[in-house]
Symmetry: C2
Subunit: 417 residues, 2 copies
């Protein structure tokens, strides 16, 4: 079963906005066994939209449209679909009442223009919008299905979940898409690709997407199958092979983020952590505290940009900074040990480096980063040399620091609890 | 002059990847007076690509394709375009040599498959790729132009800058697009919209896009004109009207980020700053240190999640935390004042709040955030109630805190330097 996704809105043809709804819609459609063949973005223009709809209906079983359901004259999706299918627009009194009701709730009178939103092509089923005034529409025509959804992502998602998913699953094929979400750290995309190339060949029934961000790689194997158990067996096998090929670089097989994995390990070991950051400027603390309930393991952190504060907050001896430089293995070690001791955390994590663009020297170039990790036995340190601009270097340093904590627990004793 | 942008690649039809090249391409095309009428994403499929190209060539003056120029059998753009236009593919020896050279530089032999990348449709101009092996192509057919670019964004951008921009500007119309990039803080999208609605009406020759992110709004007025001076006059007038309507909520008319504006003010006033964060967990420090050279004004910051560390690092009296609670105006004031004094910074900025999802009470609900700012005269505090989930609350709190620093300088004395 095939689908096309059409996003409607002139703002999506400017340099400032991108259609992200299609990612959500694709995931949902795939899960129901529907393959997305094509995505189109058109402006608020009757002819362009009509042409796009016509083409999509010429081959796709399902056409999902987002946007253009608002109350203004720019919102043309309803009229255009009705015109294309030769159906009349009829005012739906129930929808009108619910729009009026919504305005009343917010203490406002409904503007006359909103009557447009109550117009429904003959034979279409309205889809309730709990988060806005624009109702969606579900239509069938010659064995093809048309789904019209509002553009705002929160409205679109709520409507899909409440109204569309169940309708689609009634018509969806038995052949569904099954996926895994693997996360890899500590290696480049081409290194990862080389290590798993043989697996791709062996499991030719699976499709793969590899997605590389600075310091983090995602691999998504996908299997289309009518047999859920068969698909999951193949994927489980595949994941096992990936595990052997990638070793401890594979940090999640369920799409967890690095901070989620680290949070899990800290909780599991009843350990606490504190951070002392220089070039990452708070990004590590921000990632660790991204997780709800992080106060159980994250005590706090310092961002010590100035050398004085490195000494004041983590007791790094000023002599070390002076003799070795702020960006040095010695300072990374002292920062990690110092923050651990001054906060009483089980682990102290530190980063010092040169994020650039200025400040590099031949001996200490831009991208050089030292990461330290201390436990009760003392601190250890690793040096990295990251490529890219300031933002990429900071992101890679943050990922590498969190990954160092994750790897620490791979070798740490299991909790005695 | 009209264009269509076609992105080619099956990975762009999965839930994991989105075509972002089209934002860059749209900005560049608009600047040359070319309007983007439609964007299409197709998979690595000959028929789909052929159909998309055919439709685009039926109306668009310029068709820009990204992706599908790699060396594998999946990369079909060259062959499909040649087939559609009825042109032979000819091996270009110069391109072949340069691909071989590139492999030699990295100490590897060129795989046989890469010969494909040296195949050029008759009459096409190859576009040099300084960052990869895939050359681009520039073709003319019946008064339409086809531009084939590689998919990786860094290769696409370099090729556009070096090879495409100059070719396009030779054929581009006199009528160009002129824009401004306005940034607004401290109000909701609908508030901003209401305040500027009259301006939209008055300047009907301008188009507007409004883009809302948590705690930050962008407004992009755009004017198409043959007359550069005329367009800039209209836009300058428009920006002045926006300034009157939005007041001090308008923080940039040149697309600067909030941290850039704050950095500018701090430098201008030769002021330094230090931060004490609780619920924002380091995000404010991370934003401030996002800017190259931030060490001149940012001394450091603490993320004091535990109450003990609030007292240890910023000398917030434990009695205040106990009697008023960690999330209270009093603690925000004490944190701001404490971090200022303990670091010797000119300004101390603090945040304490409840980011959720847990931890809320009827008196102190999720989303309640107190922000404190201290100078030598003492600390001040503002309370906010932000909607949304943990991530949105943290982002809005970060923006509001940076905005408080910006507003402080609106009323501060100009530097005496």
């Amino acid at each position: 079963m095939n689908a096309e996704i059409i996003a409607v809105g002139s703002e999506l043809l400017t340099p400032y906005r991108i259609d992200t709804n299609s990612l959500y819609l694709t995931a949902e459609l795939n899960r129901l066994g529907v393959r997305v063949m094509r995505k189109t973005v058109v402006g608020d223009n009757r002819e362009e939209l009509r042409e796009a709809l016509e083409h999509a209906l010429s081959y796709a079983d399902i056409v999902v449209c987002s946007g253009g359901l608002g109350p203004t004259v720019d919102d043309l999706t309803r009229e255009t679909v009705a015109g294309l299918l030769g159906r009349k627009l009829v005012r739906n009194e129930e929808i009108l009442r619910s729009i009026q009701e919504r305005f009343r709730k917010f203490g406002r009178a409904m503007p006359e223009t909103n009557v447009r939103q109550a117009m429904v092509p003959e034979g279409a089923e309205p889809l309730d919008n709990p988060r806005g005034t624009a109702p969606g529409l579900w239509m069938e025509t010659n064995g093809h299905y048309i789904v019209l959804l509002p553009g705002p992502p929160n409205e679109l998602k709520a409507m899909f979940e409440n109204e569309v998913r169940s309708r689609l699953s009634r018509i969806a094929p038995k052949r569904r898409l099954y996926t895994r979400d693997l996360r890899v750290a500590g290696m480049s995309e081409s290194d990862a690709d080389n290590r798993v190339a043989e697996i791709y060949k062996k499991y030719s029934q699976a499709e793969h997407t590899i997605l590389a961000a600075p310091g983090a790689i995602q691999i998504h194997p996908r299997v289309w199958s009518e047999d859920r158990e068969e698909a999951n067996r193949i994927l489980d096998d595949l994941v096992k092979s990936f595990g052997l090929a990638l070793g401890e670089n594979l940090y999640s097989t369920t799409g967890q983020s690095m901070e989620e994995v680290v949070a899990h390990e800290l909780r599991e070991h009843r350990a606490t952590i504190a951070t002392a950051e220089s070039c990452t400027g708070g990004l590590i603390a921000a990632r660790l505290t991204n997780i709800a309930g992080s106060s159980t393991y994250f005590l706090g952190g310092v961002v010590c940009y100035s050398n004085d504060l490195k000494t004041a907050w983590t007791r790094v001896p000023a002599e070390i900074i002076e003799s070795k430089g702020a960006v040095s293995p010695e300072v990374a070690l002292a920062l990690a040990d110092g923050i651990r001791k001054s906060t009483g955390a089980a682990l102290g994590l530190s980063v010092t480096g040169i994020a650039g663009p200025g400040g590099g020297t031949p001996e200490k170039p831009v991208g050089l980063v030292h990461i330290g990790l201390a436990d009760e036995k003392g601190p250890k340190e690793h040096a990295f040399r990251f490529p890219g601009d300031r933002e990429r270097i900071r992101t890679q340093a943050t990922n590498a620091a969190l990954d160092m904590v994750r790897r620490y627990f791979l070798y740490a004793a299991r909790p005695k609890a």
